[in-house]
Amino acid sequence: MNEEITPEAFAHLVDLAALELSAQESETLRQQLNNQLKSVHELLVIPLPEETPIASRGVEYTSTSSPAPRPDTAQSHPAPGRLLQGAPEVAEGYLVVPETPHQDLK
């Protein structure tokens, strides 16, 4: 299989990923991505029986090894001001960001 990430597909990925890249970075990254993709193609030749389960993790969770789910209830942080101390811009206890672009949905 010789599937490659084209410059057009790459540009779409970059847009979705919210990344601003230089031309040189783009070329390097696209080349590396395609190299990795060739390695990934090795997966496609493995004979996989239809019933092979997917594994989202290696170790099985059981009732004896895992905690019961905690209640799905919101809890106030004891010191929210401390969390805001790391924010780039804050005003009156709120995060400040540049204008949010408006887009009409059709």
């Binding site: 090795e42 092979t52 170790v59 090894s65």
Partner: protein
């Protein structure tokens, strides 16, 4: 013998007995760091600076350490129990949150981030009396196998020969332990990131079972793969450290609720009666050659194969039964599956860095979307960008069945290999790495070849099982060789038994 040369067990024993103070132990280590480490890594730092130094650190927290040492000494003076790690110096990979300290992930995007809370693993180590010396360097967000991708330069160098990499991503941890800067270091392992640098630097490194140690406060890479674990100079010290860190944590729903054995006691049971397997599938690697576009299979260097054979013989002499020809047919697919699974998880985790809530924000953006793009574009290095893009590509709707779901099925097959192997044997003995450490700049830039340094270890991350690398001599150039054991889920005790037996047989 200087205090900085002592093991963690010996430091704790002497501090607890009042033979030495935590403060004197700390001072000895700080002097050692001042002598060998050189300038810490910094954004914009010169990668070539001080080439004969180790450069393990990003942030040295000496004042915080002095306060901790004073608290331990006060407890001793008051007749209180200072904990099993009393006065033991510790370094922490800078991927863990430690309250009121910079927690950078070796990335420009978190260079100014001061953590408002402390990771569970660090909290437990400090509560047991450990003295945190500071935060040590790593590959950016743990993405690498050499430490060269850190945004904080100079990056760590291998203490055995500073022209060589220490491995990664826990390279700062392995370098600090090998250079006698700290007897213990807290690392993380997503594809071998504790065990590979441990092998390259000649120290002990363990990846516990997934969930054995809480991930709370660990800056996430691959959430189904990441494992905090110990690096130390001896198996006993690694056992002591894991003993303190392991156990359930209400703040991490994936932390196992199983009881933690007494590892130090278990470790002394030796290997008589244990069946230890050898698999031919761990004595060759298959990798993609970017120059030819072909898959290449090669055998391992003779000195690495000899180190494993020698270990098997020594363990057999102590009463272990060696079982050869254990089939592990899906080993070679560990890296391709990892290229998919880890990238999808990394892309998801890295979306939180947007310049809004914390971390780096680019200036001059006219709207929110431009701020996202500029902030992420300016502050992520090449490796995070590569993982974001790859993760998004292979999980896109039109490709997810072909790549992502297929990789998750391959993970099932890798897990099945181990399940079937552990029906026949108690442990598997393998080489840690396909080769010894490589030179700085020798591989960096080829993200595929770099990843294959982890081929013999990543299968353990897919399967979730524990593994441990221990030093096993060196090659003709004086570079360390590591041997490695895999054990079934939550059987870290077996790893310590085998590792300790090998040390005693040396």
């Amino acid at each position: 013998m200087e205090l900085f040369e002592l093991s963690a067990l010996e430091i704790a024993r002497r501090v607890r007995a009042g033979e030495i103070s935590a403060r004197a132990t700390l001072d000895s280590h700080l002097e050692r760091i001042a002598r060998v480490d050189g300038r810490p890594g910094a954004i914009g730092g010169d990668p070539q600076a001080e080439p004969d130094k180790i450069h393990a650190f990003i942030t040295l927290t000496a004042d915080r350490a002095r306060a901790q040492a004073a608290a331990v000494d006060e407890k001793i003076a008051a007749g209180q129990d200072p904990g099993p790690l009393a006065g033991v110096p510790l370094t922490v990979k800078d991927i863990f949150a430690v309250e009121n300290t910079p927690s950078t992930a070796a990335s420009k995007i978190l260079a100014n981030y001061i953590a408002p809370y402390t990771a569970t693993a660090v909290e437990r180590l400090e509560a047991a009396g450990a003295i945190t010396l500071g935060k040590v360097n790593l590959d950016e967000f743990t993405f690498g196998s050499s430490n060269e991708s850190s945004a904080f330069q100079p990056s760590p160098r291998n203490p055995r020969n500073t022209a060589y990499v220490p491995g990664g991503s826990s390279g700062g941890s392995a370098a600090a332990v090998a250079a006698l800067e700290s007897p213990l270091s807290l690392g993380t392992d997503t594809a071998g990131s504790i065990r590979q640098p441990a092998a390259y630097c000649g120290v002990v490194g363990m990846k516990p079972t997934y969930g054995r140690v809480s991930r709370y406060g660990l800056i996430a890479f691959g959430s189904s793969l990441d494992c905090p674990g110990p690096l130390a100079r001896t198996v006993s010290d690694a056992a002591l450290m894991l003993q303190v860190m392991a156990g359930p944590d209400p703040r991490d729903a994936t932390a196992a609720t199983l009881p933690v054995p007494d590892y130090l006691a278990e470790m002394e049971k030796d290997v008589r009666g244990l069946k230890i397997g050898l698999s031919p599938d761990y004595f060759r690697i298959t990798y993609f050659d970017a120059n030819t576009g072909e898959l290449v299979e090669r055998s391992l260097p003779p000195e690495i194969k000899a180190a494993v054979s020698d270990a098997a013989q020594r363990l057999a002499l102590r009463g272990a039964e060696i079982v050869e020809n254990i089939s592990m047919p899906h080993t070679q697919y560990g890296i391709p599956a990892y290229f998919v699974i880890s990238r999808v998880e990394a892309a998801s985790n890295l979306h939180r860095y947007d310049g809004v809530k914390y971390g780096y924000r680019a200036s001059g953006a006219s709207d929110l979307r431009e701020m996202y793009r500029k902030s992420r574009g300016e502050a992520f290095g090449l490796q995070p960008k590569l993982r974001i893009l790859m993760g998004m590509y292979v999980s896109a709707a039109q490709y997810s069945e072909q790549y992502y779901n297929r990789a998750l099925k391959v993970r099932s097959l890798i897990r099945r290999d181990f399940d079937q192997a552990f029906e026949k044997v108690d442990l598997l003995l393998t080489p840690s790495t396909p080769d010894v450490a490589f030179t700085i700049g020798g591989v960096y830039g080829d993200s595929v070849l770099m990843q294959y340094a982890d081929q013999l270890l990543v299968t353990g991350n897919h399967a979730g099982i524990p593994g441990m690398s221990i030093p096993a001599g060196e090659n003709a150039q004086g570079l360390p060789i590591g041997i490695h054991f895999f054990a079934p889920d939550y059987r870290e005790d077996l790893l310590f038994r085998a590792g300790r037996a090998y040390e005693l047989a040396g």
